[in-house]
């Protein structure tokens, strides 16, 4: 039912949702001593997966950031996190719009000529 386009969009939504959760975790720990911020990457993997013709094989990976830590061993940069959250949110909305277009085409094909 869901073709390559649909699963590419779904993989992107999954990756962006994971990024949003990790950013929320970083912000909650903005003053936690010794906390190292995490970051999510999936775009490279998604690109490779699309090239291979199987977008659902996209791997979402979370790694620790290497930004310098401050006095209490914490390296969360609140401004970077908020900008990144806005960016992630807008990307997510873009992919939701794409998914709705995809379903719209599907509806038309099914016979929604009403």
């Amino acid at each position: 039912m869901i073709d390559a386009t649909g699963s590419a969009i779904q993989a992107a939504l999954d990756g962006l949702a994971a990024r949003q959760r990790v950013i929320a975790d970083n912000v909650a720990n903005v003053e936690t001593p010794g906390y190292i911020a995490g970051q999510v990457s999936f775009e490279d993997s998604l690109r490779a997966a699309i090239a291979d013709g199987d977008p659902s094989s996209t791997a979402v990976s979370t790694t620790a950031t290497t930004d310098p830590v401050n006095q209490n061993g914490n390296n969360v940069s609140i401004d970077n996190q908020v900008v990144s959250l806005t960016d992630t949110d807008l990307r997510y909305q873009t992919m939701v719009a794409a998914m709705n277009e995809k379903f719209g085409l599907l509806k038309t094909a099914i016979g929604g000529a009403s």
Partner: protein, 137 residues
């Protein structure tokens, strides 16, 4: 968990709220006199630590921060000569807490900014979840 980002941000709110509570408690007690025979008011310091081992958020579970304990300030405080105070000892000394107002106000601002940051995460997360619910409408 249906909306893990919201729980994560909520844990942040609760840490920073607890921190603000501790700061307001410290400021309210900044001028508490005590007899030198006993301890002075001890400032409360909130100890935050991350929830889990750092893999929860990427796995789709709630993560965030939690208050793992409270450490107390120095019970010795500082001894001040105040012979007119009814709590004064034979030498006219009383004990005041070792709470620095400048330090407390700085902590208050940090806690408040942290609280606001988590609130904005809740806002954004709500938008994203509403978008997700609109798929296929």
């Amino acid at each position: 968990m249906l909306f893990p980002t919201l729980s994560t941000a909520q844990s942040g709110l609760s840490v920073f709220r607890t921190w603000m509570d501790a700061v307001s408690d410290n400021i309210a007690n900044i001028d508490d006199a005590a007899p030198t025979s006993g301890p002075a008011y001890q400032a409360r310091f909130v100890v935050a630590s991350p929830v889990g081992n750092g893999t929860e958020a990427s796995a789709g579970n709630p993560a965030g921060a939690t208050v793992s304990g409270i450490t107390l300030g120095d019970p010795a405080g500082r001894e001040v000569s105040d012979p007119t105070n009814p709590l004064a000892d034979a030498n006219g000394m009383v004990r005041y807490p070792d709470v620095d107002l400048g330090d407390q106000m700085t902590q208050m601002m940090m806690a408040q900014r942290g609280y606001e940051a988590n609130l904005s995460v809740i806002d954004r997360a709500k938008d994203a979840y509403q978008q997700a619910l609109s798929i296929g409408r």
